[in-house]
């Protein structure tokens, strides 16, 4: 009789623990989803920032500030490739 009651109590405890675990997991999923959305949005912002940093207008400005110059006509050499058969 006692052992039966013990088993019953233990099973009940296990079930409750299990459900508690499930609820906790669900909460975590909810928070992770929110975090995911926030990160995805941040990713979007970063892509936009990257595009703007790579914009030719900015690159030219930075290059000129760094002292780079446009090549003169004399500096450009045209190479012609010769096919070697096959």
């Amino acid at each position: 009789m006692i052992s039966f009651m013990l088993a019953f109590a233990l099973t009940a405890l296990a079930l409750v623990a299990h459900f508690t675990y499930l609820v906790e997991m669900n909460h975590r999923i909810g928070r992770s989803m929110e975090e995911l959305h926030a990160l995805q949005d941040e990713g979007k912002h970063l892509k936009l920032e990257m595009a703007s940093l790579q914009s030719p207008e900015r690159l030219e400005k930075v290059a000129l500030e760094m002292g780079l110059k446009y090549p003169g006509q004399e500096q450009m050499v045209i190479l012609t490739a010769v096919a070697t058969g096959n």
């Binding site: 609820v23 669900n26 949005d41 979007k44 912002h45 936009l48 030719p56 207008e57 030219e60 500030e65």
Partner: protein, 704 residues
């Protein structure tokens, strides 16, 4: 002793009474239970449902817009919208006062919204990061933030007229407007059980319809080519101050638009700061009289009809008479071209010559060709606002009208129509349908729709197209297009200087549209560019001196960028050398003519009617097509120099020019010169340091 007992019958009666009450109570409770659980159960469940369930729109992310190489041109990301819950705001006046400057709204407007009897009210949607931060710092009760997607344009003005812009919720202009359906996607819906704070109850009932993400647009535009084009346009706007410039760069084989822009333009990130007329894609909406670039149409028609012979002689007296009206040639003031052949008619852009060609073709036939080349109709480009232009109807086409039509006056066309017509000559005779959207893909990258090159019709034969190209090449190597010449490449081109029509229908004196249309490489055309500059306020008004050099600058960089190699082996051929003529003391016109014949190019420094100085000096031996810098101005001794105007010049050019004049430069910033000290035209000793301030076009726009 007597016992005090209660009579047993009384006790029993009381007990029965109590029992009766108990039974009644239980019965009442059971009834009530039955009432709640069964009778009004449905209602209660519905009410609970209402209270529990929340329905929210799941906003579909808007599709992005990319250039042909997948570079982002327009994208969406979250931004903050400000909400107020009036019930929670105690001091509404104070809140309105504090928020008004940050939100850029009237205090009264804010107060009205804060005083409403609704649960929540938007104060301002999609504000900037800085503004959001400032409001957060205030820590006002009852002010909440929510995130909403906002459209960002990371390249600011680049291709802004084509891409368009979004209002708060939908596209208002350009491709954002035209492709609203594809870009928007479809919002989803989520219904879920929520707790008191509005959070979703896990494992509660929920219903989820996922959103359909918007589709992405991949354009035919190349961001770098667009940049090259727009940068050159900006420079010319600064230097010559025209009313506007239109440019289209196209692949003539397929009809794909590589770059398209009109200045003045705008920044789509704050479109409201610019006048509405800057928003439209002027290269496709604007109509104008094209002038000499239209002569190519007459030429092609004449060749196709067998009425053009390159070596046939022609005499231009400076004007000709058609149906009693005198129509002049631009060489009128010097007595006409004289005795030339029909090739020189094209190279020298002789109006009487073209009138003759038109008469040989006959007016109705000419009109047929013009329509076949796509004039008077929409080209069918997938952008909004395309203009149609105006042609003479067959009934209106008298001899005078036909005559002016041959040289592009008296009809109105759009830059796009002009481009597609010449593209037909570049690609072997086919009129193509231009397009700007290459592909539409879904958010996973799968192709939803793809645009392929489309032939509208064949206009002329392959031989005719080749012959036109051959003559256009000569225009660049020997004719008015000489300033477009690029070392090592075969180019085909045509200049144009068209009179402008005023609002009263008469030609405006002294105002012209200077244009150049050309493609390269001539032996295998891959890029076609058309430039039209509207009435520059500074400098001479000739297509050969304004538009042709712009074409050269653009095409040079584009060919290098596209890795298109020069034709043939130019290394072993020594460049042809010519003597630099003496120009000092001549007028600008005389100098231009002399240099044209010598095969040299001009660049002016400073302003004035007389030539003070030239570099290289007279008698120097230089390669063909070298640019001669001509110094215009007043008097000055040898040890003193007139400071040149450097506005619009790049740092490299400014340094070069000053160096040649014996001056030194102290430059600050980068981009194009906007101010200098000492001022232009001041007389300074040699070796003086000129301070020049440079700004990039973006900065300059903000200063306005």
């Amino acid at each position: 002793m007597k016992r005090n007992t209660v009579a047993s019958t009384t006790v029993r009666r009381r007990l029965i009474f109590l029992f009766g009450c108990a039974v009644l109570a239980v019965f009442a409770l059971t009834l009530r239970l039955f009432w709640i659980q069964v009778v009004i159960a449905g209602d209660l469940r519905a009410k609970a449902w209402d209270q529990l369930m929340r329905r929210e729109r799941v906003i579909a992310p808007r599709g992005d817009i990319f250039d042909r190489s997948g570079r982002l041109l327009a994208g969406s990301a979250s931004s903050v919208s400000v909400l107020a819950y009036p019930a929670q705001i105690t001091d509404k006046e104070e809140a309105a006062r504090l928020l008004a400057p940050i939100l850029a709204l009237d205090e009264a407007v804010l107060l009205e919204r804060l005083s409403r009897r609704t649960g929540g009210v938007y104060l301002r949607r999609k504000i900037s990061e800085e503004a959001a931060l400032e409001i957060r710092k205030l820590e006002l009760a009852g002010i909440r933030f929510t995130l909403e997607p906002k459209r960002y344009y990371p390249h600011n003005n680049l291709a802004s007229q084509l891409i368009g812009f979004m209002g708060l919720d939908d596209g208002r202009s350009g491709l954002e407007y035209k492709y609203e359906q594809e870009l928007r996607g479809r919002d989803g819906l989520i219904t879920f059980e929520s707790d008191g704070l509005g959070r979703q109850i896990p494992q509660g009932v929920q219903n989820y319809t996922p959103p359909l993400d918007g589709n992405d647009l991949f354009l035919t535009i190349d961001r770098n080519i667009q940049f090259i084009v727009e940068q050159e346009m900006e420079r010319t706007m600064l230097e010559l101050q025209p009313k506007g410039i239109n440019v289209i760069a196209l692949d003539p084989r397929s009809g794909e638009v590589l770059a398209i822009a009109g200045t003045p333009s705008f920044n789509p990130n704050n479109f409201a700061d610019y006048p509405e007329k800057n928003w439209r894609l002027s290269p496709i909406t604007d109509t104008f009289e094209p002038g000499s670039t239209f002569k190519l149409v007459t030429l092609a028609a004449a060749i196709e009809e067998g009425q053009f012979r390159a070596n046939e002689g022609f005499y231009c007296a400076g004007s000709t008479v058609v149906a009693g009206r005198i129509i002049g040639c631009w060489t009128r003031s010097r007595g006409g071209h004289g005795a030339i052949d029909f090739t020189e008619v094209v190279l020298g852009s002789c109006n009487p010559g073209f009138i003759t060609l038109g008469q040989r073709i006959t007016a109705p036939k000419l009109l047929q060709y013009i329509e076949a080349f796509g004039f008077g109709q929409r080209s069918g480009i997938d952008a909004i606002g395309e203009g149609v232009g105006i042609l003479f109807t067959p009934e209106q086409l008298g001899p005078v009208e036909a005559a002016t039509t041959t040289f592009g006056q008296g009809i109105s066309v759009t830059p796009l129509q002009q481009v597609m017509a010449v593209a037909a000559m570049a690609n072997g005779g086919y009129l193509m349908r231009p397009y700007v959207v290459r592909e539409i893909r879904d958010s996973q990258g799968a192709i939803v729709r793809k645009n392929e090159p489309q032939v509208v019709r064949r206009v002329v034969s392959g031989e005719t197209a080749r012959e036109v190209t051959r003559i256009m090449e000569l225009v660049v190597t020997e004719g008015s297009g000489i300033n477009a010449f690029i070392e090592g490449y075969r180019l085909a081109g045509k200049t144009g200087t068209a009179q402008k029509i005023g609002a009263d229908g008469r030609y405006i004196a002294g105002e012209y549209i200077l244009s150049f249309i050309g493609f390269a490489p001539a032996e295998d055309p891959q890029v076609l560019i058309y430039i039209a500059v509207d009435a520059p306020q500074v400098g001479v008004q000739w297509g050969s001196l304004v538009a042709a050099p712009m074409f050269k600058q653009m095409m040079e960089r584009i060919l290098a960028y596209l890795d298109i190699p020069p034709a043939g082996n130019t290394e072993n051929v020594p460049p042809k050398m010519v003597n630099v003529p003496d120009l000092v003391g001549l007028t600008v016109d005389e100098a231009s003519a002399l240099l044209d014949t010598a095969g040299l190019r001009i660049r002016f420094i400073g302003s004035g009617g007389e030539i003070l100085n030239q570099t290289p000096k007279a008698g120097a031996k230089v390669p063909l097509h070298t640019q001669i810098l001509i110094h215009l101005g007043g008097a000055g001794t040898q040890s003193e120099v007139l400071v040149p105007a450097l506005t619009g010049k790049t740092m490299r050019e400014a340094g070069e020019i000053l160096g040649w004049l014996g001056l030194r430069m102290n430059g600050s910033g980068s981009g194009m010169a906007v101010s200098q000290d000492p001022e232009p035209q001041s007389l300074v000793p040699k070796d003086t340091i000129i301070n020049v301030k440079f700004v990039t076009p973006g900065e300059r726009e903000e200063e306005r």
